[in-house]
Each structure stands twice: as C-alpha cells, then as structure tokens.
C-alpha cells in the first residue's frame, strides 16, 4: 500500500468516530479499529521490501522553493516504529473500548487517538525534516487533547498544559536545530542529510544544531531535566498513558535520535550530552519510581528511567549500543504497555491505584496477576523474559563506556539503576498482588472481561516468546539496527542469546536483582528516609517559572495594552512614524530626478479649499452635521484633484462613493448624539495634535520625496498600456486592468464588498432581535420632524430623474471598456438612483416594490463574475482569461463584444447589491413606532380620492 495512504488513513479516519458516536460505543470503537487495521495491513504489505533492505519512498512536491516536500520513506527503523504505533494502537483501541465508561464521549476520544496515531506515523515515515516537524507538533497537540480528555479533572488540565508547554518549547528549539541542519546540507530531505555526516560534523554550527535538536528530543522523551511532565501526564485515561506515554509518543525523541544517529552521533559533544542525560535520567527515574505509591506514577517514573536507559545506549555512539537500544525499545514497548494496561485494570476494578491500599490481589484477580507479574519480572530483568536480554546488552555496553575519564562511573551507575529498577518491579508484584487478601478495598476487585485483559495478554505472550526464543526477534532487530546505523557503521555480528557465559554483565545483572530483593526487605525504613529527605518539587518549580514569565509579560504588556483603543492608535502611529524616521535617517536620499511642475492660481485655490475644509473639520468636529458637510467638501476636492491629474475613472468613483458615504453617515447620525462633548483635557489634545502633526509631516515628506523622483525600477505599467487594446480589446486601460489583467483581484474585491454588506445586514438583524428593538421603536425624535415627510416635489422629481439616471448608469457601464466608466461606477450611479426613491417615498413604499432581494443581487454578481472566469476553462485557458470580438449589426457602427463585459456586469451587480443592502439595513433601523408607513408614494397627492390619510 502506498505510504501516503498509510499516513492519511488515521487522519481521514479521525472523521469517523465522531460520526459513529450516535451509533453506539461498539460501532465507534469498531470503526476506529478498522481504520487502524487497514493502516496496519497496509504497512505489512511493505514488509517484503523492508526485509530485502529496500527503502520504500513516496514523493509529492509541496513547496519545492522552500525545500518543503511531502516525501515519505519507509526503511527498517520507520517500519519498526510504525509497527509499534499501529500494532499497539490496535490493542489500545480494543482496551479503551472496554475501559471508558458510559459517561465518556467515546467519539471524541477516538478522534483524538486517531489524530495522534496519524501524526505519529507521519513522524516515523517522513523523509523531509520540515514535514517531520509538522507531524512532531501535531503529536504535541493531539497529546494535549488526550491528556486533558477528562476535562472535569483539574490534574488533567494542568498535566495537559504542562506537557504541551514542555514538549512545545522543545519542538520550537528543534525547529531551529532542523533549520540549521538544512542550511548546512542545503536540503531538508532526510535521505540527503543522512549522507552528509562529515559535512555536518565539520560545520561550526554543528554544536548549536545538536543542542537544539536534542532539546526537542529530551523534552519529548522526558529526559532529565525535562522529565517532570511525564508523571503529570498520567492524569490521562490509562489507555492514553499506555499508548502515548510508554509505547509511542515518548519514544518519538528516541526515534529522532536514532534517525539522526548516523550524522549526529560519534562526536564528543554527542557522547557527553546524550550519555550523561540518559544515565542521570535512568538512575533518577528508577529511584523516584521505587517510592511512588500511585501505581501509574510508579510506572511513569519507571518509563522515564527506561527512556534514559535507551538514550544512554544511543549516546555511546557504538553500533552495539544502537542495537541494544533498538532491542530495548521493542521490549520496553511490550512489557510497559502491558503493565500500564494492568494498572488500568486494577484501577478500574479496585477503584484505587494507591499501592498502600492494595495487596493480595493474586487470589482475586489471577489473570491480571499473571499478566502483570510476567511483565514486571521482564522489566526487572529476570531470565527467560525479553527484558533480561536487552538489559544484559545494556550492562555489557555500559561496561565498555568511559565517561569523564572514570571507567567505573557508567557501569556502577547502570548497575544502581538496574538495582532500583528491579526493586520497584518487586515492590509492584509484592505490594499489589502478594500478601494477605484485605477487606478494605474501595470496590471488590475481580478479573475483568477479556476485552480488558486480552490486549496486555497478547503483549505478555510476546514478552515470553522473545525472552525464550530471542533468535526469532534477532533478524528483525538487525534489520532495524542496519537502518539506524546507515553507512556510519556495520551491524554488530553479536547474537542475541540468553547465555553468554560468565561475563561481567551477568554479574552486574545478578547484583542488580539480588540487590533489588534486599532493598525490598528494608523498604519501610528506606521509605521513611526518603520521605524525610528534602527534594525539589518539579511541578512547583515549573509553576513558579510560568508565573514569573506571566508576571514579566504582564508588566511589559499591560501598560501598552490596557483596553483603550485610542491609546493603541496613538502608540501605533508613534511607532510607525518612529520606524519611518529611523529608516529615513539611516538610509541614503538620492537627488531629485523630476522637475516640480508649476502650479497656477486655480490649483492653489483648490488646495486652499481642501486644507480649509480639513482644518475646519478638525476644529468644528463637535458639531457633527457640520463636520459631515465639511468632509463632503474634502471628498469633492479629492475628486476634482483626480480629474485634474488624469484619472477620470477615479474621480467618478470618488464622487459617487462620496454621495453614498454621506447618505450612510447621515442615516447613522440620525441615531447618534448630534454633538460631541468636550471630554479630553487640553494636555491630551496638545499631545494628540503633536502626534497628528508628526504623522502629517512624515507622510508629507515621504510623498514629496517620491513625487520628485522616478521609480528606481521601470513600472510594469508599460505592459498594460501596450497590451490593453491588443490583448484586452479596450482602450480604457484602467478598466481593462480591473476586469482583465487583474481580474482575479477585482473578483476578490467584490466578494469582500459583498461580505461587508452581508455583515452589516447580519448586525442589523442581531440588533433588531435584541432589546435594542424596543428602544428603537419607542424612540422619541430629538428634533422636530418635517410635517411633510414625503414631499410631492421630491417624489415627482426623483421619479422623473430615475430613468435618466438609469440611462446614464447603463451608458457609463457600456462605454467603460473604452472610455472612463465601468461596472464599479455604473453600480454606484444606479444605487444612487434607487436610494433617491427610498428617500422620496419612504422605506416601506420602496421595499414593497423591490423585486429582487439585495442579497441575491450580490450573489448573482459574484456568480456571474465567477462563471465568466470559469468559462475560460472550457476553452483550455486559465481562470478569467478574457476574449473579445468585434460585431457589426447594421445600421449600428462596429462594436466590440468582450467576455470582460460580462465580468464587469458581475462587478456592477455586486456593487449595486452591496451598497443597497448596507443603506437599506441602516434605514430599517430608522423605522419607529411613530413613523406611519404609508402605502402611497407621497403624503399629499391631489389625484387621490381619500380625503384623509390612513391612521392619521
């Protein structure tokens, strides 16, 4: 099966559990199981190629210019991890089906689980480190959701947050490391990076890259000093702990160290950092685990310890160490997942995980006892179980490792770690299962159904089979080791076997097991000693760090970010002007290349009007109606400026927009207070004026600077001028740019305009359905109303003007391609014609005569424009390619038909719809209980028979 499908299956399948939720728990778990099983079988179909030593690849270029490609590869290492992820996943899904209670939302759980599974498979199959990083972050996120799955538990939420913080920060560090690595090699493809060991290790950036990548690995794999998040993540449901926090996710860091082993390992830095971290973690985790009373906490610290063991093995940098690491990954996944599931069973049946409240379960839960005991003995390193084999290999490797020039340090530490490891395994068996049966369990324990004990049972079968017949696992371990080593080293010739003769590792093993037993005998005094000893509480330290960071952030941000928008605007303006000033003063200013054009009196007069209107607006802005008139003058002068500087299209647009904007603001002012009170202090006004003048001077300087200089590169406008007629069939270049060259932009813009109008409509609806409606209806006009609201003169005049304005709009639309005009302007003109009818005869009268709702007009406009664009697909051209032809229908002159005109029609409709919908929404608010809605176009109509108005 293609690798793409294997990676995609869990992600696609993640949609299913939620859908199957209503079909029942069995269906929900069943569909999840099927999805995983499909991916698992798909993976197995690739087994022959992996055994043959081939690397299966799949590749799709995603963003090749960034070096980010969707490339997957499957070699021995990837296959091994994918097998663990999907295989144990299947067992976990079965287990979770029976573990979760009826109150738990199973669809949600399995959705998260499949997301996690997909991300995890993605990590181990990625051939591109950027892609790998994406999947890496996805596992952090999905693990956050899974740890916090029981949202009602505060420990769950805190644990989830801590895990996300630690692994997320590690992930960020790793992104940095990976980018450095990619820069060194010049490619982000793993297969290329793995070929460049010498190049990478010689680079001065090797050490920073190594440290950053190791930060990612250590946080993910809970290595000292980042080990503290893993025990807190145990607040998750047990299936999650068994899956993520023992078998798969915490091994992602180990996986990455193994993946990068050929290029990163073998240097003194690698050896020192990785071996030390691993060794410390191994011993520390084992010691803490022994004194934990919560079964899951004990297992969590034991996981930390074993992850340290694997890390140490990878750190030694020898081929034998790598092989031992691979073998221990396999063994640890089997016995630890089985132990976690057993702990879950005990919790599920006895309703407690506290070891002090358990004991004597051997007789009550014989099946669970068998499963857990075999797994625990394997973890303790008892012969004929798989844990013994890899622990022997570890001790063997430790015996040859010299750290800090002390030959005894590593072997002694490794033995101490194993000793404590054996001790907590014995404690687990002894204090939970052995001893007398008690009568004070929170619930009566008994063996669960096979749904719960079968999954760990299957794993324990593997524990025993590998333990008794290691030669069966050996070929597989060697294939995986070969792909870890790459070309850096040869696979060791050593055989994995139970009896190696009387070698030092055997003595160390015996010391560990016997020592562990002895330690158990003095457990109670040792516990008292441990409880009396002061030790740092990681959670408190973590929380203190988070608190400090939050406090620092608060003191930095709150003065800037206090909820006052005017303050943000002021700070933003000052910052922009400051940045501009900095650029201006540090850059170089060239000499003017253009000559200033002379100005005559008319222009100066226009300038004076604009400046006077703006000044007046600022000075008199408290009188809101007056300020509307003044801003109208400003807009008018801007339009005149556009005409003068050869932009007739802009002038027409600005002019018509000005009209609708003023109408809009008038409608709004109808509700708002008519004056602005004096509130700000003089000091504040001076400050604001200072900021405003600085901003004004800055834009003035910038504009003046570039108006007197030519662009540093030739503008692309030459192309538009040259091709407007030849390629677009129109002589109005601005219009051809809008509907043809940059038609896609315009298409987006009419959509934005439509969305803005719909937003206004939605806000109106919300207001009218809230308590604002009553207030609006009972509103007393604060100013005297005109007695004649729909005056006859105005009604008659607007009716007469209407066809003329429509004709003008039509004309402007048609000629738009060749002369100033076009869809935008025609749309605005037609809107004004319609708005006049509303103004003359009232909202009720006008909307009764509305044949098409404005939403539909917007939609039709966008659709027509879109269909025009799609039409070009049928002739094999890209979206929005235009075409035109010239037609002659006697007796008219020859005229041109262009698909662009159809597009412009879409623009026209969208503009009409958007403008009308906005204005109509405002006027709907204006209807009050006091305004009588007349069915007639005007209040006084000599031709009407009725002597009196309705309702008067």
């Amino acid at each position: 099966m293609s690798l793409f499908i294997i990676v995609a299956l869990p992600f696609l399948g993640a949609l299913l559990p939620g859908l199957m939720n209503s079909a029942g728990r069995a269906a929900c778990a069943g569909v999840t199981f099927t999805v995983s099983l499909l991916a698992f079988v798909g993976l197995l179909t690739n087994l022959p190629s992996v055994i043959a030593g081939e690397v299966v690849t799949a590749r799709v270029d995603w963003m090749p210019h960034l070096g980010l490609n969707f490339t997957l590869m499957l070699d021995g290492l990837g296959f091994f991890f994918a097998l663990l992820i999907l295989g144990i996943g299947l067992l976990i899904i079965t287990y979770a089906r029976h573990y979760l209670s009826r109150k738990d939302n199973m669809g949600e759980f399995f959705t998260y689980l499949l997301l996690f599974q997909g991300a995890m498979v993605g990590i181990v199959l990625s051939d591109n480190i950027l892609l790998l990083l994406i999947f890496w972050e996805l596992t952090s996120l999905s693990s956050f959701l899974l740890i916090g799955y029981w949202k009602h538990l505060p420990e769950g939420r805190q644990g989830a947050r801590m895990a996300l913080t630690v692994t997320g920060m590690g992930g960020l560090a790793m992104i940095g490391g990976m980018l450095i690595l990619g820069q060194i090699v010049g490619s982000y493809d793993l297969s290329v990076i793995l070929q460049n060991r010498a190049l990478i290790q010689a680079d001065p950036l090797y050490v920073p890259a190594l440290i950053l990548i190791l930060l990612g690995c250590f946080t993910k794999s809970a290595q000292f000093p980042f080990h503290f998040w893993l025990p807190h993540a145990m607040a998750a449901p047990t299936p999650v702990s068994a899956y993520l926090h023992s078998a798969t996710m915490v091994k992602a860091g180990i996986f990455l160290m193994a993946r990068m082993w050929p290029v990163l390992s073998g240097t003194p830095e690698w050896f020192m950092i990785v071996t030390t971290a691993g060794l410390v973690t191994m011993v520390l985790g084992a010691v803490i685990a022994l004194f934990k009373h919560d079964l899951k906490a004990l297992l969590a610290f034991s996981t930390v310890s074993h992850l340290g063991l694997i890390t140490m093995l990878l750190g030694t940098g020898t081929a034998f160490g790598a092989m031992a690491a691979v073998f221990h990954i396999l063994n640890h996944a089997t016995f630890k997942a089985a132990l976690f599931m057993s702990a879950g069973i005990i919790d599920h049946e006895a309703h407690t995980r506290d070891i002090r409240r358990l004991g004597g379960l051997r007789k009550l839960m014989p099946v669970t006892f068998g499963v857990a005991t075999l797994a625990a003995l394997s973890m303790a390193g008892i012969p004929l179980l798989n844990g013994f084999l890899s622990k022997e290999m570890m001790l063997e490797e430790a015996g040859h490792t010299v750290l800090f020039g002390m030959p005894l340090l590593v072997p002694v530490m490794a033995t101490v770690g194993s000793l404590f490891s054996a001790a907590y395994c014995f404690r687990l068996i002894g204090h939970v299962f052995l001893g007398p049966v008690r009568d004070d369990y929170p619930a009566t324990p008994h063996d669960p159904g096979p749904g719960l004990w079968m999954p760990p049972g299957i794993l324990v079968v593997l524990v025993v089979v590998i333990g008794v017949a290691p030669f069966m696992a050996e070929p597989f371990v060697k294939i995986v080791t070969a792909s870890v080593l790459g070309e850096a080293a040869d696979v060791p010739k050593n055989y994995i076997k139970i009896w190696h003769g009387l070698v030092p590792a055997l003595y160390m093993s015996i010391v560990a097991v016997v020592g562990g037993l002895l330690l158990m005998m003095v457990f109670n005094p040792a516990l008292r000693l441990w409880d009396a000893a002061p030790r740092p509480e990681a959670k408190r330290i973590f929380e203190a760090i988070v608190e400090t960071a939050a406090a620092v952030a608060r003191t930095l941000i709150l003065p800037l970010h206090n909820g006052s928008f005017t303050r943000y605007a002021a700070i933003g303006t000052v910052a922009i002007v400051g940045a501009g000033l900095h650029a201006w003063s540090t850059g170089q200013v060239g000499a003017p290349t253009r000559e200033a054009q002379p100005a005559d009196l008319v222009q100066i007069a226009g300038w004076l009007m604009l400046v006077a209107a703006t000044g007046g607006l600022v000075l008199m802005h408290r009188n809101r109606l007056l300020s509307l008139i003044l801003i109208g003058i400003v807009g008018l002068m801007v339009s005149v400026g556009f005409v003068f500087f050869s932009a007739p299209d802009l002038a027409m647009t600005q002019f018509t927009v000005e009209v609708v904007t003023i109408i809009l603001l008038l409608l709004a002012l109808n509700f708002l207070p008519k004056t602005t009170p004096v509130e700000s202090t003089m000091l504040r006004r001076i400050r604001d004026a200072g900021i405003a003048i600085a901003g004004g001077l800055a834009t003035f300087a910038l504009a003046h600077h570039y108006l007197l200089r030519d662009a540093i590169a030739a503008p692309i406008s030459e192309f538009h001028l040259a091709n407007s007629y030849k390629g677009g069939g129109g002589t109005n270049v601005v219009n051809v740019i809008l509907v043809d060259f940059r038609g896609f932009d315009t298409y987006g813009e009419i959509i934005v305009l439509g969305i803005a109008a719909l937003l206004i409509y939605a806000l109106t609806e919300t207001l009218l359905s809230s308590n604002v409606r009553a207030r609006l209806l009972n509103r007393q006009p604060d100013q005297p109303r005109a007695g004649n609201q729909h005056p006859m003169m105005m009604v008659v005049l607007t009716r007469v003007i209407m066809p003329i304005v429509l004709l003008v709009g039509f004309y402007i639309f048609l000629r738009g391609h060749n002369e100033p005009g076009g869809g935008f302007i025609a749309g605005l003109i037609v809107s004004i014609a319609v708005v006049m009818q509303y103004m003359a005869s009232g909202f009720g009268w006008a909307s009764d005569r509305l044949r098409y709702p404005y939403h539909g007009v917007i939609g039709a406009g966008v659709l027509i424009a879109g269909m025009t664009g799609i039409g070009s697909w049928f002739v094999g051209k890209p979206f929005l390619t235009s075409d035109f032809t010239y037609v002659r229908i006697p007796p008219f002159e020859k005229f041109e038909l262009a698909t662009a005109a159809l597009f412009d029609l879409g623009v026209f409709l969208a503009v009409v719809g958007a403008v009308m919908l906005s204005l109509e929404s405002f006027s709907r608010l204006a209807r009050t209980a006091h305004t009588e809605e007349s069915d007639h176009p005007m209040d006084i109509d000599p031709s009407r028979d009725e002597p009196e108005r309705e309702g008067a």
């Binding site: 600022v618 504009a703 305009l753 609006l776």
Partner: protein, 117 residues
C-alpha cells in the same frame, strides 16, 4: 504642484490622525475617512503626477499617465466605502446597545481592573 499634493496628503493625514485619537465613535469614523482619502491619494500619487494624459488610448497619443495605481485605488475607494459602512454599523450597534458612544471602555463601570474573577 508636487508640493501642493504632498502637503495636502500631509494635512489630510494629520487631520485624520487627530480625529482618530478622539474619544467618541463619530469623530473617529470621520478621522478614518480622512485617513482613507490621504492613503488613496498617496497611492494614486505613486504613479507620479501627470496633467492631461488620462490612460485612455488614442491614436497618435504617446504619453499616458500610469494606469496601474489608478486601478488599484479605484477598488480601494469602493472597498473603503464597505469598510466605513461596517465600522459605522458596529459603532451604531454599540451605541444603541449601551447608550454610550465612547470608543474606550469607561472605567466607572468596573474599577477593579486586571485579573478575571
């Protein structure tokens, strides 16, 4: 002429910023409108100022002004209408809902600033 246009842009910007820093919604909306004019004229002027050469192709005419900034500003004008309308609507909704047209939260309602309950 360049001086006139650039100083007009500067005046419009200054007026716009000053009004944008006022405390009530209506002047802030007017300020944003003034800034819109300033920005549109600024963008338009990036095609440099040309008198009497509209970008309408004619036989025998060789000199045209730069059409591209015009096309960009044309849609900017229309979109800014849509955005002004949305902002006005939001301001209006806030005023109708709370009978208060301040831009900032008023401290009188809740003096205990900081931390959520």
């Amino acid at each position: 002429m360049e001086l006139l246009v650039s100083s007009a842009i500067g005046v419009l910007t200054a007026g716009g910023i000053y009004l944008m820093l006022r405390l009530r919604t209506f002047p802030v909306i007017l300020g944003i409108s003034l800034l819109t004019y300033a920005v549109n004229v600024f963008l338009f002027a990036s095609g440099r100022l040309t008198v009497g050469a509209p970008p309408i192709l004619r036989d025998g005419v060789e000199v045209y002004t730069d059409p591209l900034p015009q096309a960009l500003v044309l849609t900017a004008i229309v979109i800014s209408f849509g955005m002004t309308a949305v902002v006005v609507m939001i301001g209006l909704g806030a005023y109708l809902g709370s009978n208060d047209d301040h831009v900032d939260d008023q401290p009188t309602s809740d003096d205990t600033s900081g931390g959520a309950a």
